[in-house]
Amino acid sequence: MCHAGARFIALRITDRKADNSRLPSADPRAGPGTAGHRAITLRRCKTIPLYALLVRYGFRKHATYVWATVAGAFTNSVFGILRAYILIALWQARPGLAGYDVTQAVTFCFITQACIGPMQLFGTGLTIPERIRSGDIALDLVRPASLQLWSLAEDLGRAAYLFFARGIPPMLLGAALFGIAHPAEPGQWLAFLAGFLAGVIVSFAWRYLVALSVCWLIDDRGVGAFSLVLTTLFSGMLLPLSLFPGILGDLARALPWAAMVQAPTDLYLGKAPVLETLAFQGCWAAVLLAAGALGTRAIRHKVVIQGG
């Protein structure tokens, strides 16, 4: 967590200043004999429970709406079945397409269906655009916490809930109806889960950027629609990216959306080198989160906060 790191450094500097200027006991918050350094480590550790709590609240917040989740899981499963039949027809006509056999193609279909909820492939999943429009964002900006980390923690909680509620059901249904492939060894499962988590983080980082654009564009529907097209096309949601020919294929596999659906699915199928794939996802997560951090700083300083 780079934010915690930054705070750590900042605190260290201020505490040193405090040490020079006054006795430690003059600080009402410092206990007797508390060395500046120990106080720092304690305060640093206290940031983590906040974000851990936010993950939990994000999970619970979404767990409140059971029937919405059931409907979502049902839809994801039914469309999974439809897509599976289409892919089966395609792979029967062209066996070995994209390096997958029929079972792998069907597996691909159900894993991608499982990604829809946790990675919010069709929508923002963030309340930020709405809060910017209503002016509620002012409250978020008053808080002594990073808006981006705050939203990320909440979003991870949401994704965790949807992974269980909308990710597992389509996979189980796919396994029961068509028989899908599954990782042979625990290491591959682990790689898949790590890749899935990285995919969720990249998806968050992207959606966060889309959400922040409201600050400049007032309305997020245009950007949202644009993002929807890019995400469905380039994440591998529509078709495996290895089906894309030539330069388009190379480009698609290098873009951030490939880190969302294609990468975890390939890790699940054992079709991609583990470390390289995770590094690819990590890079995009870092780049997009950094852009989000810059964007957050920009809205703090520049943008008119509407309403109120």
């Binding site: 305060r43 206290k46 429970p49 906040l50 709590l53 936010l54 609240y57 619970r60 917040k61 409140t64 209503s134 002016g135 509620d136 002012a138 409250l139 900006l141 008053v142 808080r143 002594p144 916490a145 703090r300 300083h301 008119v304 906060i305 109120g308």
Partner: protein
């Protein structure tokens, strides 16, 4: 506690596709000081610059000119440090988690402001008693009435024991009973704990019953600053505070 020295904030408003926009001054050359322990009413017609002032006080808007200090800090530069010393309530918005019990929002605030567990417990017990939260503290916020939610929001803003409390229309939409309980609570908070309160409202009953001092802002400038009696004396021919304020609002246009 609060100090504004010729503070101003202007916004560029873009018209159609023209690149250069019109400059709108939401607040200009605003100077006032609020001493620790004061209870000040901050009045002004819609669009006068009240909310802009409040946003500058919490550090979410940087003044484009002049100087702002709250608790000795520059809000926009020391926002995080200041956040631990200031409490803010926006009556038309909520900091509470809509889907979760009220208690959970408080727990999050404990972590956010890093309040010690025991201090937090004592403080929450106090607030639960004075704001009468006991009956609904385990109820999800979306099921609360507006009056209950408002009391919850007040508690949320005070859990970290701030020195300054900034209120933006805290009694909006409340019935007479809820209003009076919130007013009683604010009065106690100010007299017993010495918390400095800046209250923005359109409800002149709030002002009459709570504020010793009144500031009136119009077109982004301070139009009046004095005691309630002095405010009434500006228009001796008027008998109610509504009429006096109406005169000030329309007279300054």
């Amino acid at each position: 506690m609060i100090e504004l020295d010729r503070a101003g904030r202007s916004f560029k408003v873009k018209r159609s596709l023209k690149l250069e926009g019109n400059l709108v001054h939401a607040v200009r050359d605003l100077s006032f000081t609020v001493a620790p322990g004061e209870f000040v009413g901050y009045l002004g017609p819609n669009g006068a610059g009240k909310s802009t002032t409040i946003k500058m006080l919490c550090g979410i808007l940087t003044p484009t000119s002049g100087r702002v200090r709250v608790a000795g800090l520059d809000p926009s530069r020391k926002r995080t440090t200041l956040a631990r010393r200031i409490g803010v309530v926006f009556g038309q918005r909520t900091t509470l988690w809509w889907d979760l019990p009220l208690r959970d929002s408080f727990e999050l605030i404990r972590h956010l402001y890093k309040v010690d567990r025991n201090v937090f417990k004592t403080r929450l017990d106090e607030l639960t008693e004075t704001l009468d939260l006991g009956g609904f503290i385990r109820t999800p916020v979306r099921q609360l009435s507006l009056g209950q939610r408002m009391r919850g929001d007040l508690a949320a803003a005070l859990l970290h024991a701030p020195d300054v409390l900034v209120l933006d229309e805290p009694t909006i939409g409340l019935d007479v009973v809820s209003k009076s309980s919130i007013r009683a609570f604010l009065r106690r908070l100010n007299t017993e704990q010495g918390t400095t309160v800046l209250l923005t409202t359109h409800d002149l009953g709030d002002i009459e019953r709570l504020c010793r001092r009144v500031m009136l802002i119009d077109h982004g400038r301070l139009a009046f600053d004095g005691t309630l009696d002095e405010l009434m004396a500006t228009a001796p021919e008027q008998s109610t505070i509504e009429d006096v304020v109406t005169r000030l609002y329309t007279g300054s246009r």
